[in-house]
């Protein structure tokens, strides 16, 4: 216990001695953890969005304004009979307008348009999101639907989520690769920085270390202050990263949610706790490995 206090005292002295390099290593740790945190947070948001999109995989078949009610009923019956369809419902033009008003943050546009530009639609809920493509094709090629389709080409009258989901995935994959590369680079830079800072701390105390060895201080006792210093850099860097992400969570996310009302952006508080824990642990690992590398090189016992 008393030696822990000793380590802490020594590592704080190390801070004061090499303030600029210490700041350098703290900032690099902070930046790498911050970016890791951003990606984790972004990942959580995207995960949320994707899940909600996937849950809502449905097909909307737009119906021409002039389609007759009997044709619409026939098409509905046909669709209801397809494999993988859970339920079929009908949205009239008025209902569509109402829905749009609810969803949109800018409902005034609709009023200014005058009249109702929105088509009526048949909404098809699927029991199995995987089959969306298949069901859509069947609807597309059916005579019943061709008769009532809003556009001349029936496939243009069909909207379904699969394409969006796929596009979302391919985009997030790219972002993920870039993120991982960036993180690796930053972690590497942080390691180099910590390595350098600890090396300077070791050099500054070289004489003391020689005497400690001479009088038989244990290896752990000699190394303790330097490990502690690396860990302190990491903890401070992690704390900065956590504070920044907390700020983003409290300031930026609500705005993002407000402007993208239709996407469920809010992430559970537990997820954030988890992210913070990961940042702290990752920081500690970076700090300890960095200082251990330095010790292996410059502190042979």
């Amino acid at each position: 216990m008393s030696s822990l206090i000793y380590f802490l005292k020594q590592s704080l002295q190390g801070f004061a001695r090499n303030l600029s390099t210490t700041l350098g290593s703290i900032i690099t740790i902070f930046l790498s953890l911050f970016i890791i945190g951003l990606f984790l947070m972004g990942g959580a948001v995207i995960q949320n969005v994707v899940e909600s999109v996937e849950n809502e995989v449905s097909i909307t078949a737009y119906v021409a304004d002039e389609a007759s009610e009997s044709d619409i009923a026939a098409a509905q019956d046909y669709i209801r009979g397809l494999d993988g369809v859970a339920s079929v419902s009908f949205t009239t033009k008025d209902q569509a307008l109402e829905k749009f008003r609810e969803m949109s943050s800018n409902a005034a546009i609709v009023d200014e348009l005058g009249g109702n530009p929105l088509p009526a639609s048949i909404d098809i809920e699927l029991s199995d999101p995987q089959k969306v493509e298949e069901v859509a094709k069947q609807i597309e090629s059916s005579d019943q639907f061709k008769k009532i389709a809003d556009e001349d080409n029936p496939s243009d009258s069909l909207k379904y989520g699969q394409r969006t989901v796929e596009r979302l995935f391919s985009v997030t994959n790219y972002i993920r690769y870039i993120g991982i590369a960036l993180i690796i680079l930053l972690v590497f830079i942080a390691l180099v920085f910590i390595n350098n800072t600890i090396r300077l701390a070791i050099m500054a105390r070289r004489k003391e270390i020689a005497i400690m060895r001479l009088v038989g201080a244990s290896n752990g006792f000699i190394r303790g202050p330097f490990l502690m210093e690396g860990a302190l850099h990491a903890i401070i860097g992690a704390a900065l990263a956590i504070v920044s992400i907390e700020l983003i969570r409290n300031l930026a996310l609500p705005r993002l949610q407000a402007s993208l009302a239709f996407l469920p952006i809010d992430v559970a508080p537990n997820t954030f706790l988890f992210i913070y824990l990961i940042l702290l642990v990752a920081g500690l690992i970076i700090g300890l490995i960095g200082s251990m590398l330095a010790m292996r090189r410059y502190l042979k016992v």
Partner: protein, 275 residues
């Protein structure tokens, strides 16, 4: 201080059974033998070298030490003499396992250094006090702190430090300079501090590498008196030196090295090299 002296005297009496001596070299016999006790060479040796050689990688053809065998017993006071480069410092560094021998076996207090695990080395060093020519004091710490540092870093409690440090500083005669910084001390005083630091943990073995190398003859005598006093408390003392006057005056066991070879090992010896 006086207590220590008395204790030393008692121990001297107890050691009275003398051993029949080794052959001393002619040179030694020719000189008057001073009044010193013969030391008992009994029990297990503190330091035992068994055919030890050390070759530095930089000089593969010129071994720093070659085929050295010697035993040093508890309570002995031994001079290790030889010219610069004869291997004295190498031998000292082998004892504290700062170096490993290229071949041969070194045993310190019954423990084989060759098979000793690295993490055990600090515990070995806690049992060996070390004094060097350049004092190795920390310039930004006071006399007291310098000595206390040796106890701090091996995890001794504050109360132990508070009692032991002033005591050992009294023993070396620096009780009035606790708060001085090393650069406010004379060379002799600085060396006394480093001796105090070496013995504050009460190691059974004290190894000194040229302890008087930087000091004038009179101060050197003071240091040697101190080392002798420490020896009388039962500490085994090994002094590597090329201080002819000191060795000739004290007439203790002398081990001579010449270019890495052990050339002489005699009781009550003299320096014996032509300068």
């Amino acid at each position: 201080m006086t207590e220590a002296t008395n204790q030393g005297a008692e121990q001297r009496l107890e050691r009275a059974p003398s051993r029949t001596g080794r052959l001393a070299a002619d040179l030694s016999e020719a000189l008057p033998v001073l009044e010193i006790d013969d030391l008992p060479q009994q029990g297990a040796p503190v330091i035992a070298f068994d055919r030890v050689s050390k070759v530095y990688p930089a000089q593969p053809n010129r071994p720093a030490l070659e085929d050295i065998s010697l035993q040093i017993y508890p309570g002995e006071f031994v001079f290790l003499v030889g010219h610069s480069g004869s291997g004295k410092s190498t031998l000292v560094r082998l004892i504290i396992r700062e170096l490993k021998p290229s071949s041969g076996k070194i045993t310190i207090a019954g423990e084989d250094l060759g098979s000793m695990r690295n993490w055990r080395v600090p515990y070995l060093r806690r049992n060996i006090g070390c004094v060097f020519q350049d004092f190795k004091l920390l310039p930004n710490k006071t006399v007291f702190e310098n000595v206390a540092f040796a106890l701090e870093v091996i995890g001794k409690s504050r109360s132990v430090i508070r009692t032991q440090v002033p005591e050992v500083l009294r023993l070396v005669g620096l009780q009035d300079k606790l708060d001085k910084l090393p650069d406010q001390l004379s060379g002799g005083e600085a060396q006394r501090v480093s001796i105090a630091r070496a013995i504050v943990n009460r190691p059974p073995l004290l190894v000194c590498d040229e302890p008087t190398g930087n000091l004038d003859p009179q101060t050197s005598r003071g240091i040697m008196d101190l080392l002798e006093r420490i020896n009388r408390t039962g500490t085994t003392v090994l002094v590597a030196t090329h201080d002819r006057e000191m060795v000739d005056n004290m007439r203790r066991r002398v081990i001579a090295l010449d270019r890495g070879h052990l050339t002489r090992d005699q009781q009550r010896g003299v320096y014996g090299f032509d300068v």
